[in-house]
Symmetry: C2
Subunit: 335 residues, 2 copies
């Protein structure tokens, strides 16, 4: 697979050049997030774990990288009418913050069932909230209307080259901070994060393993990889509210070709990983953010001899936006 | 007060030399903890706030600095029979970890009502737990017996020059990381932390304001400062389990002379500050750890014109060890 990856690495929606360009473009706006490690967690996992703390990114999630790259890629004319998106979560607040920094409006279509803290973040950053029903159809219809009304630019949460390039800057930073990384584990939802991370990491070192972590109740990417084409699920059921999206036309080819494996974990494993993040690392992560730790501790991963030599494992803690009351429910409920 | 402070700064249990020595002694063992800031919290407080994240210190609290300095100050002969302490909290696990690093035993007397996660930390670091009743009398009696039985060295949680010097290294780091700091706000319990922080900071720059934060239900230090002598309370009542101790003979003179003021806050203000730490900074702090933020946001502080020019405020987030179930109770209960 690595040779194949090397040969084909420039045919995707982003590449090492666009990712390095993104790094230059967003460098003065984003936090270079710290990498934490813990002897206790190394001991539990039997590996050296390096936690890339994107939960400490501005806006509380990696999404600010892509949003910032997209917003600052626009020409002044494009930017003038503002940006538009539909998102239940971290992309919405990230885009609001990026737009605020550029001084342009952000129109955010949010489904009524979105986590409260994520809606508050959008408002705090000056995003203009337009409510939709919880269905994807309603989200898209309302967004289309907002686009017509404002003349703004749609910034999709993940199926966008600028977004993918922005997320890829995580690999550039992580491999500079911890050069001995041999494996990176990344939460997988729509695929923007893992596409950027994989394209950058494999370009720097094709031998690095890039593994996805996906919740069992939204394992469309694992099913897609098995089937050889995009599979969508009629419905999803997981506490990881950030991991319910489906693959896009730009992210699927990267997941298909460059992601070495997808580790599917149960919600109860995600909860256990969240607890460890709080108790040991002392960082606040949301369920979606903790899934990489859940994956490395899962029997699926531990019992697969292919991964025996994954010794220095980077884990992206992707976000930390969680309603405290919801958190408690997660932490006490052994799903 | 500053002139007085300068003249008398060498008459206390620690000084800038002993603190710099401590830094050299413990430098390879302790984390140089990061300093976080947040535009949202700056906006809420109307100041530039710099959070020194000792909750990310090894063992989850600043206590590891002092414990490490004490343990590595011992001669080999002194160290051979191990160290002994009585503590309900972070000092216990910090001393266990420091002893483990030196390869000597740690005998820890723990009252039966100690937070579960703190007891687990002691055990995780190999400390030998001896239970006592919850009263200070029982703690001291059991510790005296352990000292007789083992021949070990007592390391008091705060009334010890080595401990105070170790905690003082926080100021050295913070003022190197953020040179423009003009004010430092520190949780106050037995006074070891604030004594070290004040002695180092005032020695480097006598104009720096050092303010203590104390819970209303355990405000013995505020009362002591008012009375001009150590006042002890018959009982304490606060959710901040780490802030219930009384001043010691070595820490009282520093608090009396060098601490510019003590800001007393209500438990509900501590809870609100904890929430902000979780929601905005994304770090896990215990109630005692969040009290500095509570103080800077309190009306007592805001409405006192003396502090109008406290523009660049360092806040020590002193620890992050909190039982998750207890945490939830705090966060939902508007005390």
């Amino acid at each position: 697979m690595e040779a194949n990856a090397e040969a084909s690495i420039n045919k995707y929606a982003a590449n090492i050049s666009s990712i390095k360009e993104a790094q230059g473009r967003i460098g003065s706006y984003v936090h270079k997030t710290p990498v934490f490690s813990s002897e206790t967690l190394n001991s539990i996992s039997g590996r050296n774990l390096y936690f890339k703390c994107e939960c400490l990114q501005k806006g509380g999630a990696f999404k600010f990288r892509g949003a910032c790259n997209a917003v600052f890629s626009l020409t002044d004319d494009q930017a003038a009418k503002g940006v538009v998106t539909h998102s239940s979560g971290n992309h919405a607040s990230a885009l609001s913050l990026a737009a605020k920094l550029r001084g342009i409006p952000a129109h955010i279509v949010i489904p009524k069932n979105a986590p409260k803290c994520k809606v508050e973040n959008v408002m705090r950053y000056g995003g203009q909230v337009i409510w939709s029903e919880a269905t994807m159809q309603s989200r898209e219809e309302v967004a289309a209307k907002v686009l017509r009304d404002t003349g703004g630019v749609l910034i999709h949460p993940y199926n966008d080259s600028r977004i993918i390039s922005g997320q890829g800057t995580i690999s550039l930073e992580l491999l500079e901070q911890i050069p001995q990384i041999d494996t990176i584990i990344v939460p997988l939802s729509g695929g923007g994060l893992i596409s950027g991370v994989a394209l950058a990491a494999k370009s720097i070192n094709p031998a690095i393993r890039v593994l996805a972590a996906e919740p069992k109740g939204a394992d469309d990417a694992a099913r897609s990889k098995k089937a050889g084409n995009i599979v969508t699920l009629p419905q999803t059921k997981t506490i990881a509210d950030g991991l319910r999206a489906s693959l896009g036309s730009l992210t699927w080819p990267v997941v298909r070709d460059l992601v070495d494996d997808i580790i599917v974990v149960e919600d109860k494993e995600i909860i256990e990983a969240m607890k460890l993040c709080y108790q040991i690392l002392k960082v606040v992560v949301e369920p979606s953010g903790a899934i990489g730790l859940a994956a490395v501790l899962s029997n699926t991963f531990r019992n697969n001899p292919t991964w025996n030599d994954c010794n220095n494992v980077g884990i992206v803690l992707s976000g930390g936006n969680v309603d405290l009351d919801v958190l408690w429910e997660f932490l006490n409920k052994q799903v």
